[in-house]
């Protein structure tokens, strides 16, 4: 991959905390092999928040869950690529070695708080399990720490709620419990997969604030998976835009929001209400990942698509400037990025 920039938040340490390179993941389905993640590369530096944005089916969850090999294999199959945590490739580790990474160095928060906690055990028991899996501490000490964590994530009256079951908590409170559990071993990286999607808007804002607070406090990095550009604007330092299993665009959050480079990113912003322009839905649907068409994955729905967009393979991530990369021929050697600036391209459909 060309044009990859490595920025280090902390100049004292070398290289990014997490470095995903050329990650390719396939799933065996009854109707053929589906390439859910195709040649995905990105970095997460220490203390920064990277957001993977994309619509449903873009491969962002599979990317997140492949980092610590949480995807079921089979039917999943990691075809290619590396996931390096401080230079160590996690994909080469044995299951036993991976267990030491999971929860301890890299923690996860999943989308659905209704189902994320086991209904048969108290929340205290489940947090204590997270602590005691990685540290040899007694029940009493683990309990103390679990209560401190519950208190930290904003559960009122944590001592008495320690012995309650998940069904006695609201959705937002349950997600806070999940966050507390993820913090149990002070991880270096928190992978949060749509952590607020299932919650009310007000609860969403509170949870995002909480994530920001604990990030500063614990000095950890966050990899946030979302389809919500509002969440991206709120939390992200850098953005990775995914579409149909491929990275379409990467860059700093201000640069991407100010000047989205890839036509897909532009189209995505046009779907947002309240930006002073007409709402425009993206015509068409995601390509079939079992048999993707040649060329750029987005070409079929792109207003600017040219003939060459429908041939060959996905264009490489060209350097756009400002540390932004876009996988689009308009930024290539023969491209003219100005053509994307105003209005719509040759393939424009008039409504």
């Amino acid at each position: 991959m060309s044009g990859q920039r490595q920025r280090t938040a902390d100049p004292g340490t070398e290289g990014p905390l997490l470095s995903v390179r050329d990650l390719t993941v396939e799933f065996e389905t009854e109707r053929g092999t589906l390439r859910a993640v195709d040649d995905v590369s990105f970095d997460v530096d220490r203390g920064e928040t990277v957001c993977i944005v994309g619509e449903s089916g873009s491969g962002k969850t599979v990317t997140a869950e492949t980092i610590t090999k949480l995807i079921p294999t089979p039917p999943g199959h990691i075809l290619d690529g590396t996931v390096e945590l401080e230079g160590r490739n996690l994909l080469d580790l044995s299951e036993r070695q991976l267990r030491k990474v999971r929860g301890d160095r890299i923690a996860h928060v999943f989308q659905n708080p209704q189902d994320a906690l086991n209904h048969c055990f108290t929340v205290g028991w489940q947090i204590r399990e997270a602590i005691q899996t990685h540290e040899d501490v007694g029940d009493r000490a683990a309990r103390e720490r679990a209560i401190t964590l519950l208190d930290r994530v904003g559960i009122p009256d944590a001592t008495s709620r320690y012995d309650e079951y998940p069904h006695e908590f609201s959705g937002g409170m349950r997600q806070r419990v999940v966050v507390a559990m993820a913090l149990a071993s002070s991880p270096d990286l928190l992978v949060a997969d749509e952590p607020t999607t299932a919650l009310d808007v007000t609860i969403q804002a509170q949870l995002l604030d909480l994530l920001e607070e604990i990030q500063d406090e614990f000095g950890m990095s966050i990899l946030l998976i979302t389809h919500d550009l509002g969440v991206v604007a709120e939390l992200a330092d850098r953005v990775v835009v995914m579409y149909a299993g491929r990275v379409m665009e990467r860059g700093g959050v201000y640069d991407v929001f100010d000047a989205p480079a890839h036509p897909y990113t532009k189209a995505m912003f046009d779907c947002l209400p309240g930006r002073g322009r007409d709402l425009r839905a993206i015509e068409g649907t995601l390509p079939d990942l079992r048999d993707p068409p040649p060329g750029c994955r987005f070409a079929g729905r792109c207003d600017f698509a040219r003939e060459e967009c429908h041939t060959g393979t996905q264009p490489p991530l060209y350097d756009v400037g400002n540390g932004q990369d876009a996988s689009c021929v308009y930024y290539g050697p023969d491209g003219d990025p100005e053509a994307l600036r105003d209005g719509h391209g040759e393939g424009d459909h008039d409504e």
């Binding site: 949480l70 030491k100 929860g103 086991n118 209904h119 399990e129 997270a130 899996t133 990685h134």
Partner: protein
């Protein structure tokens, strides 16, 4: 919870009461086999059939008012006076106490094996879905389920008893409980019963466990760094245990009552099933009643335990201590 258990216990008593009342009513309208033969004898020997009937009824207390008959029946039932077995010439309770150990002897290993293998195979199938083992287990489960126990028992007796001479064909009730002889003569019945009962438990365990193997909380546990075995035994088996406990109780009860007849008859084990079977053959009403009621009581206690198990196993089930 305590109040729930108390109410549930009370209901078990009420259910028992109702069942006993219904059996009393059924007995009341049933033709008295003994009376018919006494009347026949009296008539053939030139006596008065009507007088013989009155004498018989007076002796049995059948000339008393209905209410009195009913209350004395219920009192007898409650105090363990279950009547006299005419075919065996001993009190019904004594006959049951003699037969019970033989039933327990094969029921206990059978239940343990069913639970251990049913859960084990089911869990393994769930975590290795569509593997070769899963297909083999599915085949074995349906085989055991489809094949009639009594027929399978006879075939095994012919093969292992007659042709291979590995097990005795005739059951020896005198064999000491913990002896090789006893083990050898119980191997086949236990095997036959286990193959019959393991199937549904395996299939249900697989289905229930699959639901939780794919749940988000299992992924949460894995993401915490918990080992696969711990996930299976705690995070999957625990929630699956709630529906499984129902199936287990219902299944084992059904089999205990139904298959023990066939298996005991085929293998010649003098247990409760055979006792009941012989009682029916000889029209020994008191004994038929007693052996049937034992099944009923086991079912009532089993359902009671199952309901209590729910409250313990699934904290979401709240019976509200009102």
């Amino acid at each position: 919870m305590r109040w729930y258990v108390a109410r549930r216990l009370l209901w078990a008593v009420v259910a028992t009461f109702i069942i006993l009342s219904i059996t009393w009513a059924l007995l009341f309208v049933t033709q008295q086999q003994a009376l018919a033969s006494i009347q026949f004898q009296a008539a053939t020997s030139g006596g008065d059939a009507e007088a013989a009937k009155e004498a018989f009824e007076a002796q049995r207390g059948l000339d008393r008012p209905l209410w009195e008959q009913y209350s004395s029946y219920m009192t007898n039932m409650a105090t363990g006076n279950w009547g006299y077995s005419t075919s065996r010439g001993q009190p019904v309770t004594a006959a049951i106490m003699e037969a019970l150990p033989y039933t327990v002897m094969y029921s206990v290993p059978w239940t343990i094996l069913t639970v251990a293998f049913g859960l084990g195979i089911g869990l393994y199938s769930a975590t290795h879905q569509y593997s070769r083992f899963d297909y083999a287990a599915t085949f074995a489960a349906f085989f055991g389920y489809a094949i009639p126990n009594f027929w399978f028992g006879i075939i095994l007796l012919v093969v292992f008893g007659v042709h291979l001479d590995l097990v005795p064909i005739v059951f020896n009730p005198e064999a000491p409980v913990f002896s090789l002889e006893n083990v050898r003569q119980l191997v086949l019945p236990v095997f036959v019963l286990t193959t019959g009962s393991i199937a549904s438990l395996t299939r249900y365990t697989r289905a229930e466990a699959l639901e939780y193997v794919e749940a988000t909380f299992t992924k949460t546990a894995k993401a915490k760094g918990v080992s696969d075995r711990r996930i299976l035994l705690l995070h999957v088996l625990r929630p699956a245990a709630v529906p499984l406990s129902t199936i287990l109780v219902a299944d084992l009860l059904g089999l205990f009552i139904a298959s023990s007849y066939l298996v005991e008859v085929v293998f010649g084990i003098p247990g409760l099933g055979q006792l009941s079977f012989r009682a029916i053959q000889t029209q020994d009403t008191a004994l038929v009643l007693a052996t049937t009621l034992i099944g009923v009581f086991i079912a009532i206690v089993g359902n009671l335990l199952q309901d209590i198990a729910y409250t313990v196993l699934d904290p979401r089930i709240d019976y509200g201590d009102r």
